[in-house]
């Protein structure tokens, strides 16, 4: 019965969406904003990667809000997981597990390579495919890889918070500097430079560096938070605890009845 109703629901939903799909146009839908941006972006912002000029130039406030959402998610995650982490640390903390030299040293080997690729992608965000978000994720992977190789190593959370706060603040400060120069908030500064060179597109690379550092710090803190509470001694602890609560609830019900 449950399966039949699910099937009916699914087919109804699919029919509804396919009817909407019937009206879509493939390849050549009239997108006025997109056309206008393609025409003007190169002259207005001087960034070779037009997606970057949309993300940071035309939709900069949108990106700021998006960073705020990521920050909220990361803060909420650490808030939710912090009580579990406390429980783990109250119990004897599981020591560093030794998974062999090969795993540990290859994690150390990959760290500088991943850092280089991540920083390259962030710095060339206005020239090539990539940018702050993609490079930031690679930076996070660079910091998370040693944690995967040697579980229980821990991460410098205060340092991550410092980088994160500094990057977010500098993003907003760049936007406010534009206000002082009589422009709109987050409007690109410092001229264009020669198009296609590393030092071009005004303040867009600076904004992307801020975004990259912030995304990298936030994601690595988030992954570390998710990885940390999986201690060994924790399972038995909570199991016995819940068993005792079940006992007490049983007794309570008995006395009530």
């Amino acid at each position: 019965m449950r399966n039949i109703s699910a099937l009916v629901f699914a087919s109804g939903l699919a029919f509804l969406l396919l009817v909407i799909t019937w009206q879509f146009i493939l390849g050549g839908a009239p997108m006025l904003i997109g056309e206008a941006i393609l025409q003007q972006a190169a002259e207005e912002l001087g960034a070779a990667n037009l997606v970057t000029s949309v993300v940071l130039g035309y939709r900069g406030i949108d990106t700021l809000g998006e960073i705020a959402i990521l920050f909220t998610a990361s803060t909420a995650t650490s808030l939710v997981l912090s009580s579990i982490a406390e429980k783990t640390s109250a119990k004897s903390k599981p020591g560093l597990r030794d998974d062999g030299t090969i795993l540990a040293s290859s994690a150390s080997l990959f760290f500088p390579l991943l850092m280089t690729i991540g920083l390259y992608i962030i710095l060339h965000g206005h020239l090539t495919p990539g940018g702050g978000f993609q490079g930031g994720v690679i930076l996070a992977a660079a910091f998370f890889l040693p944690l995967l190789a040697v579980p229980g190593r821990g991460v410098n959370h205060s340092g991550l918070a410092l980088v994160e706060g500094f990057a977010g603040a500098s993003f907003i400060v760049i936007g406010i500097i534009a206000l002082f120069q009589g422009k709109a908030f987050l409007q690109p500064l410092f001229g264009h430079g020669e198009m296609g060179s590393l030092l071009s597109a005004g303040s867009l690379p600076l904004l992307y560096i801020a975004v990259g550092l912030k995304v990298g710090a936030e994601l690595s803190g988030l992954l570390a938070n998710l990885a940390e509470p999986s201690g060994n001694g924790d399972e038995t602890l909570s199991a016995t605890e819940s068993a005792s609560t079940e006992q007490t609830s049983m007794q309570a019900e008995k006395t009530k009845s």
């Binding site: 090539t128 819940s242 609560t245 019900e253």
Partner: protein
């Protein structure tokens, strides 16, 4: 004809992912699978956005080589706005998934199960217990003081879930 086929394949694929995801969210009972279904629906939505900006015979919206000097480029490019939006939406998706996973981890620590109905019953039992009310979960649960065999620990909390 082929254009029509490609149209249906692309849009139908994106919509199909969304349908799979939503149906999964609605019908599944394992919380972790619900998160995975959410991820699938999100992938469908992103795919739909990217396809909406597609142009035939177009290149990525990045100026390279000669196009850098010849400013108003003659080459057709795909729409950059949906790409920028998908870029941000992917990162937001990662944040949402991480938060959902953290909540699932917390639930699992408390109830030792990922089954949604089981968690529901245990949560109701917990609420009843902490407010000092006799559990109303099961109609069949014996109420009076009879010489009953000692029930197992789990049955008190699970009795509502088993039919």
């Amino acid at each position: 004809m082929t254009t029509n086929l490609i149209h249906w394949l692309l849009y139908g694929g994106a919509m199909g992912l969304i349908v799979i995801g939503i149906v999964g969210v609605v019908t599944l009972t394992n919380i972790f699978r619900i998160i995975l279904a959410l991820v699938i629906a999100e992938a469908g939505a992103n795919l739909l956005l990217v396809i909406a900006g597609y142009r035939f015979d177009a290149i990525a919206p990045i100026l390279t080589g000669q196009a850098l000097s010849a400013m108003p480029t003659t080459q057709i490019m795909v729409d950059p706005v949906p790409q920028a939006m998908v870029l941000t939406s992917i990162v937001i998706g990662v944040g949402v998934q991480a938060l959902a996973l953290a909540l699932v981890l917390k639930v699992y620590k408390n109830y030792q199960t990922l089954d949604l109905r089981e968690i529901h019953h245990r949560m109701l039992a917990d609420i009843d217990h902490s407010s000092g009310v006799i559990s109303l979960l099961s109609e069949e649960q014996p109420k009076g003081e009879r010489p009953l065999p000692e029930p197992e620990t789990k049955n008190v909390l699970n009795s509502g879930g088993e039919k």
